[in-house]
């Protein structure tokens, strides 16, 4: 997870460099030359490794360029995504193979990896849900919240708030990743503060750990943990009801 995030940061930094018109043209020409010599060789993948760029992203660049030439128009994002997900749809067999090779060989990007990430996230949400049920904490899950028309929705909202390590929490967000500086800042900005603004203080669980210094908003109402908390205090009368 940490490696992946660091890698992503590096890719983000260099993203623009690979997307200049000249770079795209160079990559495309090199690809054409490469497959011209040997269609079976991992041309695209090697090209990506050589310029230190994520193979799936390289595949996307070349595919985009390819389609542009073929269709004489800028292809839609949906089409590109769909072709990346299922290279069989790519009209050129060689390119399809090349793209597929890039996809399966990419450890951080691409539809396959996205799916794995999604699956991991989902699995941890399920785990969290289990734990909540086990603790008898009633909650409203994200989909229910969406259905009610909430504009921003954490994974779980507790129907009856509890105190974790002395801090009241109203919601819990599960993050199946490592909480590093930049991703945490982004999450704070896009999600956690928004949740706070609507539901009050809450808990974020970074299942793969986090940088301890980031847990600095406890007083304010954003608590970080790397596991399901053990120190939970519930409202007494709701205990009595059970």
């Amino acid at each position: 997870s940490i490696f992946s995030q660091e890698y992503q940061k590096q890719i983000k930094r260099t993203h623009a460099k690979h997307h200049t018109a000249e770079a795209i043209e160079t990559y495309y020409q090199r690809y054409l030359n490469g497959v011209g010599k040997n269609a079976a060789a991992p041309v695209l993948l090697e090209l990506a490794n050589e310029v230190d760029f994520a193979p799936s992203l390289m595949a996307r660049i070349v595919l985009e360029r390819f389609l542009q030439e073929k269709e004489q128009a800028i292809p839609s994002k949906t089409l590109i995504n769909s072709m990346l997900r299922d290279p069989s749809q790519i009209p050129d067999g060689v390119l399809a193979n090349q793209v597929y090779q890039c996809t399966v060989n990419d450890c951080c990007y691409g539809p396959l990896v996205d799916c794995i990430k999604h699956a991991i996230g989902h699995e941890h949400e399920v785990l969290l849900r289990e734990m909540l049920l086990e603790k008898n904490l009633s909650f409203i899950a994200e989909d229910q919240l969406r259905a009610k028309g909430y504009d921003k929705t954490p994974d779980f909202i507790l129907e009856v708030p509890v105190a974790v390590e002395g801090h009241i929490i109203h919601w819990i967000e599960s993050k199946a990743s490592f909480g590093d500086e930049s991703s945490h800042q982004a999450y704070l900005q896009d999600q956690f503060w928004s949740y706070w603004n609507r539901f009050g203080p809450g808990l974020v669980i970074y299942w793969y750990g986090f940088i301890e210094e980031l847990d600095c908003h406890r007083e304010r109402g954003i608590l970080l943990k790397d596991c399901f908390p053990t120190d939970i205090v519930t409202l007494r009368h709701s205990m009595a009801q059970r």
């Binding site: 790519i90 399809a96 399966v104 396959l112 989902h122 921003k152 503060w193």
Partner: protein
Amino acid sequence: GLKVLEQLLLQHPSVAAGGIHRQIGDRSWQILDFSIRISCFSIHLVSLSLLQKDFVPFLLNFLREQTSQILTNGPSTPAKTPNSKASGSQRTGSERRAGHKASLGSFLTATPDALPARRGRRKGGSSVGASGRQVARDLGRSLAEEEDGKNDSASWSGGRRKRSEVPLVSARSPPSQLNLNNLEEFPPMGAASGSAGCFYKPSRRINPTPVSAERPLSKPKMCFTSTPVSQSPAARFSSGTSLEAFTAVQEGNLTSVISNSLQEEREMLKKERCKLLHQASSPAGISLDPGTPTKPSYTRSASLPAESHLVTCANPTKVSCKKQLECLAQLYSSCIAENLVPNIFLELFFVLQLLTSKGTSTAEDGDSDLEDNERNASGRQHFRSVHNCVYFAVQVLDYQYEVISQLEKGMLKLLAENERIASFSPTLHERLRQAYESSTAKVSLLLPCSVQSVSFQPETDNRSNFPSDRAFHIFKKQRDIFYELLREWEDNHEKSGWDFERVLGNKIRAMMAHLSATCNHSHFARLFQKQLTQMCKGPIGGGASWGDTPDQDVLNMLGSDNLSRLKRLQERFVVPQSIRGPCPPPSFPGCQQFFRDFILSAGSYQFNQHLMDSLCLKILELNGLTLVEHEHNDGEADMDEQDEKKRFTVVLLSLRLLAKFLGFLVFLPYRTVEQPTRDLQDSAVALRNQTLPVLDVLKLLRQSIRDQRSILTIPWIVEYLSLVDHIAPFLDYYRKVFCLLLQVYRLMVLSEDKEMSFLNKLLILAVLGWLFQVGSCVLFCSCSVLSAFPSFSHQDSVPLVDQQLLYTCCPYLGELRKLLASFVAGNGAKNGGFIRKITPTAAESLAPKTSVTQRKLQVELEQAFFHNQPPSLRRTVEFVAERVGSNCVKHIKATLVAELVQRAEVMLQDKVKEEDANHDKLLEEVCTHLYEEGAQALIKGREFCKKKGPEAVRVLLPEETSAAVLNSAEDIAVELATEKACGWLSANIAALIKREVKATFSRMLKVPGLPLPGEDALESRRDCPPGCQHCAPFPSQIINEIKDVLCVAVGPRDEDEVIDCLWLECLLGRLSQTLRCRKFMCPTSEQQLAKCTVELASLLVSDRVPLNLGIKPPEKSSERLRVKNNPTYGLLKLLLSVWKEDFGTPVPVQLMFSKKNMGYLAEVQHREWDLFLFILNGLVEHELMRTGEVESCLRSLRELPWPSVSN
């Protein structure tokens, strides 16, 4: 007359006390007689008011002057007396200038044309025109007349004297006429200043009608100090009229600035204490009054001796002129007791100052300083020594015991421990000790809650409350931005150099622009107001300003962890402390500052208007709440009483907060830094008299008095009024409000009576007194017409106010205690340390809303039914009806509507599959179909209400309620609930269904790669097999592993890189387990697994997976055996079985025939086509594909460009 008395008192101290007494008595006792009867009757008061006007301000000023030299502790307390520069007309130039200095307000606003206007104006007749300056001028004139008539008991102007001497005559005159006269002839009391003896202490005097001359808002300090006032305008002027200056003034920042500078000045004075002339060299003094370099020397500070920090020991045996002091104390106490002073707490503060006065050696030893040389020798016998001051103070305290004993416990403790009281009056000491011991009036410190957000409520905040998606989306952003700003402010606003406007101004205005673009102001105003209430109704917002160390029990409660938090909070909120006197200007302490600055920076007319609307509505709602409804005689009252108190506290504090902000907004457009000139004021008054008030406070005030609810209403109206601009008090409307408040104040005589609880009264007196000091009490002594209130009586008898609330509302009362505490500490005015915060234990109020029914008779019957029942019954029924009705709608939504939507989903799915239909049309069709069924909602709703209503009513009403009453109550509740629910449903059910179906439909269309066909058939697979332990590997794990396999297969790879065959088999086994356990599976994972396994199969049949067989295949084995032993068959079999048995989602096996995968196949040796055939057979056998499908796929292969490679 008074002049004579004064002269007698001052000049002939040696005359037998009895004589003086008698002479004073001639008039004063008469006055007191009247004032004692005051509460009963207006007639007396009308006539009395003339006397009061003359007498009370005189008395107060007299006391201030007498004591000015001895008081070195705390800020000086303002006296009441109108003091006018004009009064100096008969004096020497220097004295006259001193006069200017004293009534700085007049001085500041005086324009060259002021004097010429003076005489002519008086006959003007119109009371409306009684502007501040005019009043001052008239005062001056009166003073001058007074001077003329010095030594003549008939010095009063003819008509007035007559009336005062013959009260009954005046009683017959129409009050209104008197009032006019009063306005014009406003107290000639400055007489005191005319006395040569007193005139040496001009600095002690403050015009009691400061409002008219000077805006308390813009000069916070002027109310209780004179010296600093001379600086505050300077500070203000130097900072110009910018927003910053304005806000600074507003929030009382200046106050601290001023007090700081005052401190500095004091330091300076200590050094140069004998060089009085030098004092005027302070920059402020020069800029303001360059012409009178010597006069400011008469300020109290000037005479402050270096040893002032040494407390002189007060000695009862050294008291002189006891008789006079007793007489004065009695007089003074009566004035306080009868509410003839504008602010009783100010007087108490003054008395405590006397009690704690430090005294000076000079004062004791004789007269060596400048003043004494100049003074009228007989001028200050009475209060020259500490002993006399203390004696007087103790006497007054004794008279005021009843009030004092109601103050909070800490205060009582300090009083009980005060050694001066102990030595001067052992009996009072004993009483105070007992009061302390029996007092339960502990004002406790509670931790303020930190910032909380306003929760998102779907009912008001979801998409359906916005006109467009865009508006909704933008508001979503605005909400986040708002809190971002709030957090930024919270983190930084106390850092030096942080400037609200500079940092947040543009962000706020950008936000306003967005709001305007989408007409989201009302949403934002509501959020803003809710956040304001949430953050500020607590103690921080209240800004308790009195220092104290937290009680031990509080500390214990907090624990060490919270203690640091507490400390931090304190650091955040404690302003440098000093005793500031009991009348601080209105301010926006703590978080309120953010909201005020936000409004100012936003500068948005639309936003302000929406906010005012919102505030008015909430104020009216809260003000209208029925908070007390049971009779307080019966035994069960205890619990209710507690609840009521709590509720009352919450409501009152909220109201005060909201009213303050409303006042701020309402008067904001008219606010000016400086007092407008007379002409501007006249035209402004003429203009603004035409406009209607935003909130009809006069009506509300009258209602509250009539309904005996003034204890709730007056405190917030005071907050509202404390923010009036310069002009507003002169408007007809607000003048009436002020007059009415004044009457209330006068009549609210403090005593234990059944009509109104003592503390209730104390609160009202405290807030009104404060308003009269800081607010716009233009007419304090002048509008005492009581005709409006024949039946004025207070029966808000329920003791709703306790000390906690009193001190929360009036944190400035803590000044009294600070003063005492600082005396104990012996460290003068400095008082650092903890601030006590008081949090009301909050309970949100519920506002029962009355449903309006159309059927008149039914309504009347219903009303009749409730009439003779306890009010709680009605509240319960209405509450039940409201809730049940609302729950009914929710229930229908969750059941019937949800059901219909589900059906719609199925229908839509079918139809979407069928044709590429017009989605809108499709939607319309389906909905129309459902509408008929929607009609069931009404039937179900009625059933629901009928079932739930009675249950709830029965639970909520007392067990003993008679059957008939219970039945009726149930019926009404059901009826009301049904009406509410069905009314809503019949109007909205169609729209609701449509909205929900539409939302579902668009969700349906949006889900990527929705596997439409065949999904229903697989529905049953969505549960884990029975007894599943959910211990299968996670889907993500499996995808990851398969990815690794694909990676090796697709290459590039090293020569020796192989995949262990057994391991792969095992992986497929685990895949099977994972697919069977549904717990962690999500659609995307499953689809991906399906896709990956198909890819894997393709690679297997193309012999692209470098399998390591584990055991070397026997070399001699036949070709046939080799095929049989080929583990790939086993793997393919496994895959086929997994596809068939374990997947809950369709497996895209047709991908095997994709160009890419066929490309792999095309490259293999012929032998391996066996594998392909094998899988084709398998697919058909396992019913994963039909033969026809396989054939058509194979046919389409022909269209592919086959490589020309041939084997």
